[in-house]
């Protein structure tokens, strides 16, 4: 029997108009795994996550979630199937309160039914969000907004969490804290695909890593087998 994959990205190509942003990118995420994709700005990492979530449509290639083809779907269809993206730059709803942001995270009918249970779990994971539940999201610090963005993404009870640059612009201590939470989320059975510029941080957190450069995967391996030297060379393309 074939082992079941949470996510299988098979040779996808993505274009912005004429610009070829992703070239034959493939990767796999097993359930319970944290996989990371490392690359510089503009290497195509965010494009990859957006294509999986359905914000962008790949031209050729397949994306499968637990064996079901999800490429070609819109985001509201992928969310129902268990994909949730924590977008780059957090993108919390600034003029909504923390509580309202979380409520919006449970948008799908299934999630709405289990809203109060999941809300309690998210508050347990991030007690700070509970303290600030009636505050407008725009008035919170960057770290708190990042927690909110993750909490909101969890409200749909995803099977696969996509995290786009969650350490961007945050203090090292807060980053450490947020990564700890990610591992906790992962232990509860959520597969995670991480995208980062921070090489060390993401190598430490993951079980398998891919390095992207100019829209292609140039190096893959598990963190123990990859030398920092190798990764750096692939990362900068030298």
């Amino acid at each position: 029997m074939q082992r079941e994959l949470a996510l299988k990205v098979d040779n996808i190509n993505v274009f912005y108009g004429e610009f070829h942003a992703l070239w034959d990118v493939s990767l796999e995420v097993e359930p319970q795994q944290i996989i990371s994709v490392i690359g510089t700005n503009g290497s195509g990492k965010s494009t990859l996550l957006n294509a999986i979530a359905g914000l962008l449509q790949p031209r050729g290639g397949d994306v499968e979630l637990f064996g079901e083809k999800i490429s070609g779907m819109q985001p509201h269809q992928t969310v129902v199937r268990g994909v949730s993206l924590v977008p780059e730059g957090r993108r919390v709803f600034g003029r909504l309160t923390v509580y309202e942001n979380l409520i919006m995270g449970a948008y799908t009918p299934r999630a709405r039914k289990r809203r109060s249970t999941v809300l309690r779990m998210v508050y347990d994971l991030f007690p700070r969000l509970h303290e600030r539940r009636n505050q407008l999201a725009s008035t919170m610090s960057g770290g708190e907004q990042q927690m909110l963005a993750i909490g909101r993404a969890l409200m749909s009870e995803p099977k696969l969490l996509l995290c786009d640059e969650i350490s961007l612009g945050l203090a090292p201590l807060i980053i450490k804290d947020i990564y700890k939470k990610l591992e906790e989320i992962n232990r509860q059975g959520v597969a995670i695909l991480l995208v980062e510029q921070d090489i060390n941080r993401s190598l430490k957190a993951c079980q398998y890593a891919h390095v992207m450069l100019e829209g292609k995967v140039v190096l893959s391996g598990n963190p123990a087998s990859l030398t920092l030297e190798e990764v750096k060379r692939a990362y900068f393309g030298v």
Partner: protein
């Protein structure tokens, strides 16, 4: 002093009507980022629908709100889902042209069905006044004000407390993030336009009871709505209310001091002053 009180009171009451006229324009800009040039025509379409029900069923115009509002909700919902949603994300001009086209179609449809005669929604209310000393308050103006205020407060509560209201606010805050939580933004926009058309329907019935209207009166109210939202700030409900008061007050005080011929001019002078001092409107986002 006492002769100033009359225009101030009238300005306040008329301001409530102006605010509800502008409400739909403001919400749609705030949420869908489309300037609905057909908004004034949707208001007048509401007036004519009310007229049709008055003639057909012999109702008091006020009661027709209960029929006209849901019909206009459906009209707005359809306009958004069938027309505007097709051209979103394709730049500023296509939705603008589409709104312009809808405006022309509505005006000519009304011309065809109702001819170009002047119409009014007649009721006994238009003659009644309440006298407070030397001040006379028109019952109709008072009613406009109260209904307008009720619609505005109702909409505010709807946006704050209901799931759909919150979803609409979320989509207006960040449309990408709204898609990512699983919202179908096309359908959210359709509901939003339905609600805007519903407020236009209420405005249309009140306008029709208060003033004479023709098939081509719509743009006149579009301009009032523009004035209100520019003063108050686009997309802000509070701003729409305050903008309505300021515009109406400026017009009536202008008429009081300089003569009726200066009524419109004074309104636009205040508009220009607000634009010069606060280009985003009083409650607008910077």
């Amino acid at each position: 002093m006492i002769d100033l009180a009359q225009p101030i009171i009238n300005g306040l009451l008329l301001g409530g009507l102006y605010a509800v006229i502008a409400l739909g324009l403001s919400t749609i800009f705030g949420i869908v980022r489309v300037v609905n040039l057909a908004h004034g025509d949707m208001v007048i379409l509401g007036s004519y629908l009310s007229l049709a029900f008055c003639m057909w069923l012999g109702l008091n115009p006020l009661w027709t709100i209960l029929l006209v509002a849901p019909i206009m909700f459906c009209v707005g919902f359809l306009i958004q889902s069938v027309l505007f949603n097709r051209v979103l994300g394709k730049g500023m001009e296509p939705p603008l042209l589409m709104a312009f086209g809808i405006s022309i179609i509505v005006q000519n449809f009304l011309l065809l069905v109702f001819t170009s005669d002047a119409r009014a929604l007649k009721s006994d209310l238009s003659m009644m006044t309440i006298s407070l000393g030397e001040i006379n308050i028109s019952l109709l103006y008072l009613l406009n004000f109260l209904i307008g205020l009720a619609v505005i407060l109702g909409l505010r509560q709807f946006f704050r407390k209901t799931f759909l209201g919150r979803a609409i606010r979320a989509a207006s805050d960040d449309v990408v993030a709204a898609k990512l939580v699983g919202a179908n933004t096309s359908s959210i926009y359709a509901y939003a336009m339905g609600i805007a058309a519903l407020t236009a329907a209420v405005a249309g019935v009140l306008v029709g009871m208060t003033f004479i209207f023709y098939p081509h009166t719509g743009p006149q109210y579009l301009i009032i709505a523009f004035g209100v939202v520019i003063i108050g700030g686009l997309g802000s409900i509070k701003g729409t209310l305050v903008g309505g008061f300021i515009l109406a007050m400026a017009q009536l005080l202008g008429a009081h001091f300089f003569g009726p011929g200066y009524q419109l001019l004074c309104g636009y002078m205040v508009l220009l002053i607000v634009l010069a001092i606060r280009p985003n409107g009083i409650f607008g986002k910077a």
